[in-house]
């Protein structure tokens, strides 16, 4: 009998665990602070390894108490004979099963972290929904919503005492065999050293209950009326009771039902633990966010009794959003941040991830984001719930992230799609000739291209997510990085700020349309670096591209930077997918250079983002009035409308300047009302003609999506680069028809067969012009003759355009400079044949066309006048009012052109 009493069973191990829980709980009460549980627990983990070990011990002994209690129950159930407990004891035992879960869940709540707070809400709501007594029960269980006092009392007293009584009553003993104690203690200590009890970092958006309730959370997710789930608890308790007191058929059915339930619940638990992420969404292990959304829940750092930092440093390190972060115990004195990004304000893990509660260097740094802000992890760094979630969501929809226009036009040019305006994204590139062409030559410039190396943004930089624009190195930070030996702590941290300079845009925007270089007055040549003359008129970019001086944009001369015109919803996207840059681009010249009443918004009506940016840049904005864009109705926060004047403040330097109204010439007449500002005020635009593309399977190439070198690549053979006044074209939209500057975007041939290997694939030829925003604004508009008498402006290409008057009859003649192209017979640089209409595939948009023959005739008629009359002559000024009436009153000397009827 004595031997039997001392036999080790699951029950006695559970009993041993119970006393270990109680003992460790009593000691844990010393460092635990019920007024601020989250801080006190994170402090234990960071500052006090022994307290942390004790907490782990309390945690693991309680988990095993639950597990062994359940196995003990099963152990009794799986015999076919009846257990035969008295009804009273059976009732109290069944009830104690509920109480064990309550003791466990209150322990879970006492962590005070994000998981616990939500679990508390759920518990409260469920309790409140019990009829009649719900409110009272919820309050009696959880107490005041802002305090943990009552939960603590129930955890350490009410439930513990109940469990103790129920255990002793049915087991008829206080103590388990000594060996059970010894082994349990040793086992739990081992586990506690290696695996810490969980604590949520309050940043990860995925929240879950304790493992034993995750299955229940899954059930709740399916229920519209979750209060009904309480019946499941009731049902289980009744089944346990029946299995304990009844016999034969009812006993058998109860046990079998419980077994089925346990199997079912195990499945739900595994689903909840391993396949549910943020917002309880289904998540598979091969999903990109699996590690962050699911696996992070299982992080359990080892206790480190000799951490790499001085405990004194950890003790005095600041409290970050209610928690201690071990990072700040080593990384002391880190400086260089803006106020809102200071380590004292947001800590380290807000941006860099890692484990704030581990004290060993390797464990702290595990899964750390060394360079945060890349779009793949921006939701875990810049875009966490407390920081900039809405921006992190918007940026990937913007054109700088999707490259929709670039991709769509390239596929159009390769004849892979009929419409150049379809929406596309860089993440969906396949292996078609166009997509391979893009991957070899184009798609390095997108925000999603990750920044993988430390260091400032410069002309070699491409992409980098949020950092592409917001990263700034001070001299000190750059120097420290350059002199850093592996392992040295960096003290001078680069700044993440609103100081977005032209240099941030430069890497990508000095290519293709080259707006960055145009703006600063540099035009790319085809010279090699070795051929560059030693002169201030030349500039070498990226160590190999030679640029020559051209007039800079007037706004650049005045000290405006890119961001002084372009606002946050243009640059970071506004949540809409756009096909082309002119669709996403919002600010127009006429938003600032206003003729008439300005469109304005007062400070108190600003959207949140604009208001914050305005206040950060310019201080108090109370009572201020700002301009609003016409197209997308966005505030221009660096404009101020005061009395009758409009001012602009440069965003980075705060320089204040008056914004001028457009000149009288811009608004006075009807003749030019459909001209956009840039069609007159563009000083020059870069052009290139005659480019050829072929695939070379032996040439070393690059896959810009995978960022890997590869054999075989598309190769581009360039033609001529020129800087000249742009050609003009027509853009027809639903709202208006307007004249815009265009440049020869793609006059090119593509040797398709070189890629496909099919000899029958014909060489593709295109003569497409592209709408341009050259960013070379001059305050003075172009002259009348530079359009009306200029073959380039009209789309004919370079050459001699002459008005000939013979025998009292006039006609225009055009002699092209370039020879006719063998593909279509037009001069190499032309857009449209002289006095012809050209439709169909003419531009990189479906709504941009060259002038029709009627429009050319009208332009050239005025051009004919300009061959005799000065631009500023009164006749020409009159012509602006009503040209047709003026023509009827012309003198005999005026010979109008006659138009040959072309077949």
């Amino acid at each position: 009998m004595a031997r039997k009493r001392n036999k080790t069973t699951f029950g006695t191990v559970a009993l041993a665990m119970f006393w270990l829980v109680v003992a460790s709980g009593v000691v844990l009460a010393i460092p635990f602070d019920v007024k601020d549980p989250y801080l006190s627990i994170s402090s234990m983990m960071v500052v006090n390894p022994w307290a942390s070990l004790l907490r782990n011990f309390h945690y693991w002994s309680s988990q095993f108490f639950l597990i062994f209690s359940l196995i003990h129950l099963y152990d009794h159930f799986h015999y076919k004979t009846k257990i035969g407990l008295k009804a009273g004891i059976a009732f109290r035992l069944s009830l104690s099963l509920l109480i064990i879960f309550l003791a466990m869940i209150t322990g879970f709540l006492l962590k005070g972290d994000a998981d616990s707070q939500q679990a508390r809400q759920i518990l409260q709501t469920l309790a409140e929904r019990i009829p009649l007594i719900g409110q009272s029960l919820a309050y009696s269980l959880l107490g005041d919503p802002e305090s943990y006092q009552l939960i603590y009392v129930h955890h350490i007293a009410t439930f513990t005492v109940f469990i103790a009584i129920a255990m002793v009553e049915h087991g008829r003993k206080y103590w388990p065999p000594v060996i059970d104690f010894v082994l349990s203690t040793a086992g739990v200590f081992m586990l506690s050293y290696f695996l810490s009890a969980p604590l949520h970092d309050n940043l990860n958006p995925a929240v879950k209950g304790p493992w034993y309730f995750v299955g229940f959370q899954e059930i709740l997710h399916w229920l519209k009326h979750p209060a009904w789930s309480l019946l499941i608890f009731l049902g289980v308790l009744v089944l346990v009771y029946l299995a304990t007191v009844s016999k034969e058929r009812i006993m058998f059915l109860s046990k079998r039902s419980l077994l089925i339930y346990v199997g079912f619940y195990t499945g739900l638990t595994l689903t909840g633990l391993f396949f549910r992420g943020e917002n309880w969404q289904w998540m598979t292990p091969w999903s990109q966010e699996y590690r962050y959304s699911v696996l992070q829940n299982f992080r359990t750092p080892r206790v480190d009794f000799s951490p790499d930092f001085e405990l004194a440093e950890a003790v005095t390190s600041p409290i970050i959003q209610g928690r201690k972060e071990s990072c700040l115990a080593c990384h002391t004195g880190t400086h260089g941040f803006t106020d809102s990004h200071k380590a004292e304000a947001i800590g380290c893990i807000s941006c860099h991830g890692g484990n704030a509660f581990a004290t060993d260097k390797n464990q702290s740094h595990r899964n750390m984001i060394l360079i945060p802000g890349n779009l793949t992890d921006s939701r875990q760094s810049c875009g966490t719930t407390q920081c900039h979630p809405e921006i992190a969501e918007r940026v990937p929809t913007g054109l700088m992230a999707t490259l929709s226009g670039m991709i769509s036009v390239d596929r159009f040019v390769f004849n892979e799609q009929e419409n150049p305006d379809l929406l596309a994204t860089v993440h969906e590139l396949g292996n078609s000739p166009a997509d391979q062409h893009l991957k070899n030559l184009c798609v390095r410039c997108h925000l999603g291209n990750p920044k993988t190396e430390l260091g400032p943004v410069n002309e070699f930089s491409r992409g980098g997510g949020c950092l592409a624009c917001h990263l700034n190195y001070s001299e000190e930070a750059e120097e420290e990085l350059a002199n850093n030996r592996k392992g040295d702590l960096i003290k001078a941290h680069p700044e993440i700020s609103l100081n977005v300079s032209n240099n941030h845009c430069f890497g990508c925007h000095s290519r293709s349309g080259r707006i960055s270089t145009n703006y600063e007055g540099w035009h790319e040549t085809t010279l090699l670096a070795s051929e560059m003359p030693d002169s201030a008129n030349y500039r070498l970019i990226e160590e190999e591209r030679v640029f020559i001086k051209q007039p800079a944009d007037v706004h650049h001369e005045l000290g405006l930077e890119c961001i002084d015109c372009h606002h946050s919803y243009e640059l970071m996207g506004d949540g809409n997918h756009y096909a082309h840059e002119e669709d996403q681009q919002d600010v127009q010249c006429s938003d600032c250079h206003i003729d008439g009443n300005p469109r304005t918004i007062t400070a108190e009506k600003l959207d949140d983002e604009s208001a914050i940016i305005a206040a950060l840049r310019f201080g108090n904005i109370d009572g201020k009035e700002f301009l609003v864009t016409e197209k997308h109705n966005r505030a221009l926060i660096n404009t101020i409308v005061e009395n009758d004047s409009i001012f602009l403040l440069t965003k980075n330097s705060g320089k204040k300047m008056i914004i001028k109204a457009p000149a009288a010439a811009c608004t006075r007449d009807n003749a030019h009302s459909s001209l956009t500002c840039s069609s007159c005020h563009t000083a020059w635009a870069p052009t290139c003609i005659g480019c050829h593309n072929e695939y070379d399977s032996n040439e070393p190439g690059y896959d810009m999506i995978k960022n890997l070198e590869q054999r075989g690549t598309w190769v581009e053979y360039i033609g001529e680069y020129n800087a000249k006044l742009p050609t003009l074209g027509i853009r027809k939209t639903e709202e208006k028809t307007e004249i815009i500057p265009v440049i020869p975007g793609m006059i090119m041939t593509i040797d398709l067969a070189s890629f496909t290997g099919k000899e029958n694939d014909a060489t593709i030829f295109h003569r497409l012009y592209a709408p341009a925003a050259p960013h070379t604004t001059s305050s003075k508009g172009r002259t009348c003759t530079s359009c009306h008498n200029n073959p380039v402006a009209l789309g004919y290409g370079e050459g001699e355009l002459d008005y000939i008057v013979e025998n009292g009859k006039g006609h225009w003649e055009f002699k092209p400079l370039y020879a006719a192209d063998k593909n279509d017979g037009l001069p190499a640089d032309a857009w449209v044949d002289f006095l012809q209409t050209r439709n169909d595939k003419v531009s990189t948009r479906s709504n941009v066309f060259p002038f029709s023959v009627e429009q050319q005739q009208r332009i050239l008629t005025a051009g004919a006048c300009l061959t005799c009359h000065e631009e500023n002559s009164s006749v020409m000024q009159k012509s602006l009012k009503d040209f047709d009436i003026l023509l009827t009153s012309r003198s005999e000397k005026c010979v109008l052109p006659e138009w040959q009827e072309f077949p």
């Binding site: 409260q124 309050y139 009696s140 959370q217 969501e393 400070a603 009506k605």
Partner: protein, 119 residues
Amino acid sequence: MATAGIVAFFVFLWNKLTLQHLEIIAQKQKIYPFNKNRSVSFNEDVIVVNQGDKTTAYSAHCTHLGCRIDKMEGDRFVCPCHGSQYDLNGKVQKGPAFRNLEVLPSSISEDGNTIIIKS
């Protein structure tokens, strides 16, 4: 009979005790900083939404199980526990919740800098 009476008495006493406290909690006002610019702001248990000239305070607790909503995805509030979604008017857009967010009576202080929420 006597047992039932004793139980009833204790339930009565218990109810009185707790309901009294609940009453006190219900009378507590909460005051948060208010900024007209912020179209949506999350303040502990309250979400304040400015739309046009109208300001509405919603309980931040999901009507499914009471979890606290602290974020938006696109133009929707999303509950972190089971993924219920609400629009800016507090209307349910996706379950498991089926009731709209509770509108809390609120008023804005005279200087316009704070919002007072009555429970």
